[in-house]
Symmetry: D2
Subunit: 87 residues, 4 copies
């Protein structure tokens, strides 16, 4: 379960990212300078990273905490995968 | 100028990325497992990386090639920024 | 505390990385092709990533587990920093 | 050919990185806190990134420029590989 504030935050970040992706498509259609398009792609990736950070924090405080408290040894493999994905 | 095949390719990748972002918002609303949401965020990041690669290749073959052929020394700073571009 | 097997593993990876760095310096002195030097730099970065993974796993199983079990709320900020750690 | 100033710069950065790797091994032997070791691994990776940037700049100004000026179409594949590796 994600708490309501975090969910709202993530949904806002995703809505912003979706808007940015549409803006990039428009730039490509208008034949804008490649470097400007690449800069915008980086910006949307940063917005997505922001959403991922909020979800990750929620994951640590809830799922990881529950698993560790109840002694589930499988959580470490899952957590390593999450960490590897972020790099 | 991006050549028409590449532009089409980039627009398809962006459309796919936009669809994925909407799908992620839906997952968040349905309170799906955090790790699955994070996996989907990675997937859309990869789709955007794919679009960036096509644009970068076009940039090298056109803008960078023109600038180097005409002896413009400023291209190297710009190119280094493109290379350093990270999420 | 890092367990002895992991410590040995990390030290081997670091020794390998150190050897690779010396090899790269030799390549630079011999004026080897830039792309080959860059490939070797990527290789040593991967060796260091490998060492970081082992240390991170140890950190999760020991420090993070102890902190969560004892209810220390500060562990989440620290863990987020470890996850965000990038080159 | 790397010009002498750049070569000197790269060799200094590599020597610094090698020293840092030895320092990290010492930290591991002294059983220092995992997070501090991870921070030092990030620092050496940044030093190596710095060396890679200088080599990349030299590569662009010399090899890439020569290949583009002489109309070698293979340079774009090589350059894309160099760019992908940095991300």
């Amino acid at each position: 379960m994600m708490d309501p504030e975090r969910r709202k935050d993530v949904l806002l970040r995703l809505a912003k990212a979706a808007g940015q992706v549409h803006g990039i498509a428009r730039m490509v259609n208008e034949d804008r300078y490649c470097v400007d398009v690449l800069t915008q792609i980086s910006a949307v990736q940063k917005a997505l990273d922001g959403a991922a950070r909020v979800i990750t924090r929620n994951y640590l405080e809830r799922c990881v905490t529950d698993s560790i408290t109840s002694g589930d040894p499988l959580i470490y493999d899952e957590l390593m995968k999450v960490i590897d994905r972020r790099r």
